[in-house]
Assembly symmetry: C2
Homo-oligomer: 356 residues x 2
């Protein structure tokens, strides 16, 4: 491969230029999603006023804006693998990853009975409220959750429609990513219900439903789309380590983050009995934490205080730092342009140390 090039150290300028390219493309991804949904709305507006409700729910979520982490990793994998930034097909692939994520969020909020999303009422709650205020027939909860179910389904089929326009080199990884995240979600819900302390299982779930879904597979979709499946092993090592760091940060943000920053309900892992790696480790050190979570009447503050007393949050911070190092080290010998290796390092830091 291009050893002379890949061994050259990246300057900060090179990495910054790489990042600007990704950000330009992310702007196009955002427009693509909006335009796609607007065209669908136009198609259905003449049919009936009810025919656009689910599309509008998706447009609202897309407009509220997400972090676009999965499109960013897909585009970075694509560009780092030498993909053409002017090829519109990769924009559709990246938009597909984001709409898949929108689908997962809408369905997740039903699973977790989460109240807010992207700073607004979750779809199921909004529609349950509309049902109630209109005095409609039937149970408001079933109506609201049913609407969220259909809105998430619609996002799922739209995401797939977009991916079918994408470069076919990414399809195999895309199929794996999608079925795996559904299976990981079941494992997560079942582990929360069972609530037995099993950090190995917590780690497996974090790997399957979070790390691979968010980082490793989007990167490999992108590299595959650029015709470079040979990059998959290095991107996998990087993605699995950084993905675990991403999930651990998620655990910390849920427990200690600021809901005004994250735009979602805080302390959900407690109320939904999520057996996160953070909680699994903490319960191994202090069995009383399990009771604080499962018995009624304990406040999130009480759980937070007890968690801090175990020292586990500090250990998790140290573990995140180790994972970021491991992930970046995995790229050292990969045949990547140093600018992209530098940008992947920066991305690892951004996802591991985000505050929302």
């Amino acid at each position: 491969m291009t050893t002379a090039v890949t061994r050259r150290a990246a300057t900060d300028q090179d990495a910054a230029h790489a990042r600007r390219t990704v950000e330009d493309l992310l702007g196009r991804v955002q427009h693509r999603m909006s335009d796609f949904l607007a065209a669908e709305r136009d198609r259905y507006a003449a049919v009936h006023e009810h025919a656009v409700v689910a599309i509008d729910a998706l447009s609202d979520l897309v407009r509220a804006g997400g972090k676009l982490i999965r499109p960013a990793f897909c585009l970075t994998g694509y560009l780092a693998a030498g993909g053409d930034p002017d090829d519109a097909a990769v924009i559709d692939a990246a938009a597909a990853l984001e709409l898949l994520h929108v689908s997962a969020l809408v369905h997740d909020d039903v699973l977790d009975d989460s109240h807010t999303r992207r700073g607004k009422p979750a779809v199921h709650l909004l529609h349950a409220t509309l049902h109630r205020t209109r005095g409609w027939q039937g149970e408001s909860r079933r109506f609201g959750e049913g609407v969220a179910l259909l809105v998430g389904d619609l996002a799922l089929v739209y995401s797939d429609e977009l991916m079918s326009n994408g470069p076919s080199g990414g399809f195999a990884e895309w199929h794996r990513l999608r079925s795996e995240v559904m299976i990981g979600q079941y494992m997560d819900v079942a582990a929360a219900a069972e609530f037995s302390i099993d950090p190995d299982l917590s780690r497996l779930i974090a790997l399957i439903k979070s790390g691979r879904y968010t980082i490793h597979r989007p990167l490999v979709v992108g590299a595959g789309a650029a015709g470079r499946p040979d990059l998959a092993p290095a991107l996998t090592q990087y993605g699995e380590a950084v993905g675990e760091a991403f999930q651990l940060r998620d655990d910390l943000l849920d427990a200690f983050g600021d809901a005004a920053r994250t735009g979602k309900t805080a302390g959900l892992d407690f109320s939904q009995h999520k057996m996160t790696l953070l909680l699994g480790w903490a319960m191994q050190r202090d069995a009383r934490i399990r009771d604080l979570i499962t018995e009624p009447g304990h406040t999130p503050e009480e759980i937070r205080g007890r968690l801090l007393d175990t020292g586990v949050p500090e250990d998790v911070e140290r573990h995140i730092a180790t994972l970021v190092d491991q992930g970046c080290a995995a790229l050292a010998d990969a045949p990547l342009d140093p600018a992209w290796r530098g940008e992947l390092t920066n991305m690892a830091l951004r996802v591991a140390y985000r505050d929302k």
Copy 2:
């Protein structure tokens, strides 16, 4: 086109041979779904015992067997359009339509709180019961419905994975079919909640979420897969008429059918306030029926008796007969081999006069 051939009258033997060809391929579709799910199970069995639960739920539904109406129309459209019966790609396309339908059934049963499906407990109820008997944490209803949500999502992504192996000529119609059925489902749920008497809206919903989804678009997917999009107009006319007949039979079976035959809960349209065309017309003649459905304490028998008194069920039977005639007439001048025109006529009769 092959005018001499298409004008020739079909013998019963020709149509019977056509039907046997479709049935052979339907057997392959059933195997394809089973094999696909078995391979996925093998992939996940080593990961964790929870990783196969959602796959097993799908396998159970596939094994219980459905009517395979959508695969049958897809294959018939394909073969009638001259497609090669030995091409494995169309089997994947037909299997995709069935797995999409399995997804819709699992999600529908949550929307409608239906208790049985294919003669067994609905997925959400089975898993709510498992949750309760195991003494797991959290609310059993949310767990059961959450599992059904994920099982339906998994079926949806698997259906798409199968379709991506199918002939690309069917993709455009496939995308339309899927987004449209989600939008139609919302319209159905909203109409049930609103419960205003509006037969035009009932008919529109039947067209969108039932006729097009079940008959017209699967036929056009099949014809497109065989490279014959020119057949779409005739198949559309046929499919929309026969599709309305299909939905009206559905309404009658729900109201008057035998749950032991249909394998699903009877009288759901009453308890879920579904504004079907049957009920819409009946309420126009007898406003008291609306009260019988929305007020508590009235038995299905009482509603059935009052429905029969309106005379609407007999009118619906007459309307079904007219729709079947219209649908078959639409094929008269289409460039189809008479054997396939004959088999499409037989299929119209089978879906319009089915008892389950």
